[in-house]
């Protein structure tokens, strides 16, 4: 099946359309089955993926609008492969763990459309197709937050939409300008990213274009100071919305940097290392401090998720194999861990209808399974060795140490800060006296909830202990990317900065 990527993109969409016909009562089973098939398809993608090949695989190309150079152009490499896997996995797990939801059929259909757009973003190799899925992903998310969210849901959903939409329109102008440059140099219109890679641009053009793309991606990540939409989005979104948002949608931003900014503008990227590192550090430390001050468990998780996105950004701009691989790996681990944490918060919210830490205490006694899984995920978020969180974080810090030891030490404090606020959650929620009457009758996780979390726990530990199957292909593609950037860079500083290593070891 050479066209498996197309199938991966359009299967959920077709299933979503057909889902309108499925009866309300069976909608959940339908959704889970479809998501499971999609996940199996993505596993198939992994198994038929040639891990020794660092380039694009499963490439499909159909010209759509040749006069404008737009074509339906898909492909996957080691970087996108695992993000696709994570996307389908988190959609499946999120759907499976979803509690009682009103209008469940609409939710399932929306999620399936969302899955199409998410997979589409990660497999698109044509800038316009990428933009298409990127923008389209806003619509289902708008609906999920707006229809199933908290009291401020409409405000939150519109803020989310407009923020991202504005940023991506600036990015669109950047894309159009790159296409124009490509046309003026070659005489051919093309929006294919692989064609664009061949462009060697003067540094001042690179800087402007880097800025245009940066606005689009940074809002999505969300980089400080463009992060103000995310507390609302997370605060108001239903559990499933937060899970998808944190696990997948934010990765679109960091993935965009890897796919567009780094290979297309290597010199500008090198020049941007310091400003971006400073912003990322502010993001890491500042949001960690905010997280510490929160009373609401979900907000703690939300801010910690933003804080960890800062680590990912730092790794992306380390310009060496450790940092970049670690960063891509951290995208996966962040997706799984923060997704799981949001699911856990959602489960306790369903039982108690509150997310305030002060309302809990001593839950470990009544909900042992919940406490254990929460504890594992928390430790993974903090970056405890032998969990998935450690591998990425360690590699990123190792990589960035070669750029700036000082900043790396500062970023390292984030791990300590992270431990502080996360352990605080642990302490107030699970330990201490079980003094609230309502908490004494709480039921532990039921089978559905347990079984949707177990796979995540397994992955957290498996990839924490033995990350090689995943790190290998990532390393391959990352090295190819670095070699490419190094060859393409025109300034000496950039050539010095971009470190091409021939061998990289993964993880512990």
């Amino acid at each position: 099946m050479e066209n498996i990527l197309s199938i991966l993109v359009f299967f959920p969409a077709v299933a979503g359309l057909l889902g309108f016909v499925v009866d309300k009562e069976s909608a959940r089973a339908y959704g889970i089955t479809v998501a499971a098939i999609e996940f199996l398809l993505s596993l198939w993608l992994w198994f038929s993926f040639d891990t020794t090949n660092a380039g694009m695989q499963f490439v499909e190309m159909i010209p759509l609008i040749p006069d404008m150079g737009i074509s339906y152009y898909l492909g996957a490499d080691g970087i996108s492969l695992f993000i696709i896997l994570m996307t389908t996995l988190m959609t499946l797990v999120g759907m499976a763990s979803m509690g009682e939801t009103k209008n469940i059929k609409n939710m399932i259909v929306t999620l399936l459309f969302l899955e199409m757009t998410m997979v589409g973003v990660f497999v698109a190799l044509d800038a316009i197709i990428f933009y298409l899925f990127w923008e389209l992903s806003l619509v289902p998310m708008l609906y999920i937050i707006g229809a199933w969210g908290g009291p401020l849901r409409v405000y939150a959903s519109i803020k989310f939409f407009l923020y991202t939409f504005t940023g991506s329109l600036i990015m669109l102008v950047g894309m159009l300008f790159v296409a124009y440059l490509y046309h003026s140099l070659t005489g051919v219109w093309s929006f294919a990213i692989t064609d664009w890679y061949a462009l060697i641009l003067p540094v001042d053009y690179q800087l402007w274009l880097f800025a245009a793309f940066f606005i689009g991606f940074a809002i999505k990540v969300p980089m400080f100071p463009f992060h103000t939409w995310i507390p609302y989005a997370h605060g108001q979104a239903p559990t499933i919305g937060s899970v998808i948002l944190a696990a997948v949608l934010l990765k679109m931003g960091t993935y965009g940097f890897v796919r567009f900014s780094l290979p297309m503008f290597p010199d500008a990227s090198v020049m941007a290392i310091t400003p971006i590192a400073v912003l990322s550090l502010i993001m890491v430390i500042y949001t960690a401090m905010i997280a510490y001050a929160q009373k609401d468990v979900k907000q703690v998780v939300a801010y910690s998720s933003v804080s960890h996105m800062g680590i990912i950004m730092l790794g992306l701009f380390a310009m060496n194999a450790e940092g970049l691989s670690g960063s891509v790996f951290q995208m996966l681990s962040h997706g799984i861990v923060s997704g799981a944490l949001f699911m856990l918060v959602g489960m306790i919210y369903e039982r108690r209808h509150t997310k305030l830490m002060s309302e809990f205490g001593g839950l470990a006694a009544v909900m042992p399974k919940f406490a254990i899984i929460f504890g594992i995920m928390l430790m993974a978020a903090v970056g405890l060795p032998l969990t998935i969180g450690f591998v990425g974080e360690f590699l990123v810090l190792l990589g960035f140490y070669q750029v700036s030891p000082m900043m790396t030490i500062l970023a390292g404090t984030s791990i300590i800060l992270g431990a502080v606020y996360m352990l605080r959650v642990m302490k107030f929620t699970f330990f201490g006296p079980l003094d609230k009457e309502e908490n004494k009758k709480l039921k532990d996780l039921n089978a559905r909830e347990t079984w949707s979390l177990i796979p995540l726990v397994a992955i957290v530990i498996w990839l924490g202990v033995y990350p090689k199957p995943v790190l290998g292909p990532i390393d391959n593609s990352v090295n190819a990317l670095l070699v490419f950037m190094d060859e393409k860079a025109i300034t000496e500083e950039a050539k010095d900065m971009i470190k091409v290593s021939k061998t990289t070891k993964g993880g512990n």
Binding site: A147, I170, L172, L176
Partner: protein
Amino acid sequence: MLEPINVSLESLNLITLAPMLIAIAGGLIILILDLINAKLDKTLYVMMTILVLFIDFGAVLGLNVNERGFFDVMLIDGISIISQLMIIGGSMIFIPLALTSKRFHEYSYPEFFALFLFMIAGFQFMVATDNLILIFVGLETASLSLYTLIALHNRANSYEAAVKYFTMGALAAGFFAMGSAVVYALTGSVELYKVAEVMATRMNETGLMIAIFGSSVLLLVAFSFKLSLFPFHTWAPDVYEGASAPLAGYMSVVPKIAAFVVSIRIFGMYIDLGVEWVRWTILIIAILTMTLANIMALVQDDVKRMLAYSSISHAGFIMAALALDTTEGNTAIFLYYALFMFTNLGAFAMLWISRHKKRRFNNRHDHPFEKFSGLVQIMPMGAVIMALFMLSLAGVPPFSVFWGKIYVMQAAVNAGYIWLAVIMGLNSAIAAYYYLKLIVYMFLMDPVKDVDTVYYNISKPLMAIIGLATLATVTAIFYVQPLISYLYYMISASGY
């Protein structure tokens, strides 16, 4: 003694007149039918109109590109053919909207349909000539018919709208006449191709620049009225509100296509002559139009008024493409309207469905946002379709208007106006808010009590038209390529 002038019939090339004559003859046939039997139903007139338009469409398709006829007054070039096709096509999807399930009295008059066909003939004359006098005649024929069509609607503010439009239109006609007079005084001709030749030789004369610029300003004012560009846009929301919903949608597309064709001919000439002032004036007007109309649209309470401002903003967007004066820019104008036509007419048709015959929704508005709150619970398909139209208008890919937007922006970037593309992008972002507002009302709010009116007017023909518009909106990605290559070919063939 004067020599008799011999004109051979071949040299007149009367075939160039055929499309307009077909429309006029169709209008006359409808009037004669009414004389013979006064009790004929509106369905007959609607179908007759469609058939006449069908023949008209065929006649336009059969024309040869780049021909002149009728004492060289008629000019059949690429843009005149594509604009006529779009005018007729837009009219063909507009006219079945008369077949509502409730009876609206304007459609029971055969005069409505006759006037409609005369109006189309007027638009066709406007676009198929480069003679300022014939442009004027076509413009007035079309406008006078349009004023009447608006006034035929059964609301008190329809008369207000018609009179307002008439007054503004008369003023614009005055400006047009004065501008043409100055052009004639400068060059001794009203034929634009001769005007361009003469002006090109006189460009270096001292003191003449002010007269040339003056003529362009007068003409620009006239067309700013017609295209509802800032600061001459103030009539548009009131007129749209007073007109029936489909007619408002029609007005935001078809007359503007005709006016844009004339603008391309006139202002393209000025820009080609190297009068950069004209380009900058148009750019500034375009930017102000799209920005201010967007900001005004943000605060509207009524969906129809919101759509009115949104269509003003879209017109500003396209006007900026005109200022580029490149083949791509001109292609962008037609591509944008071709795509915008379906979506916008579809959105107005959705309002038309919800229109109650007598009752207003509240004292002030017919279509306030509250009317559509919770539409997804009352009419799920309708809400989804309306949301698709709104997303398309907001420029969310892959829906139709996005491809127009990206083409306009690409044309701006290619012409070196990157800042213009950025302004367009930011404006699209502002615009997204008010389109989203309707989506939020439809999907995220609960219905207001006693809303029986949201599908009051629905009928099979309306559903068919809305279905067609939805299809065109959703599948745009598949037909944009042939559309672009056809438009680009026709426009470059006519030298714009």
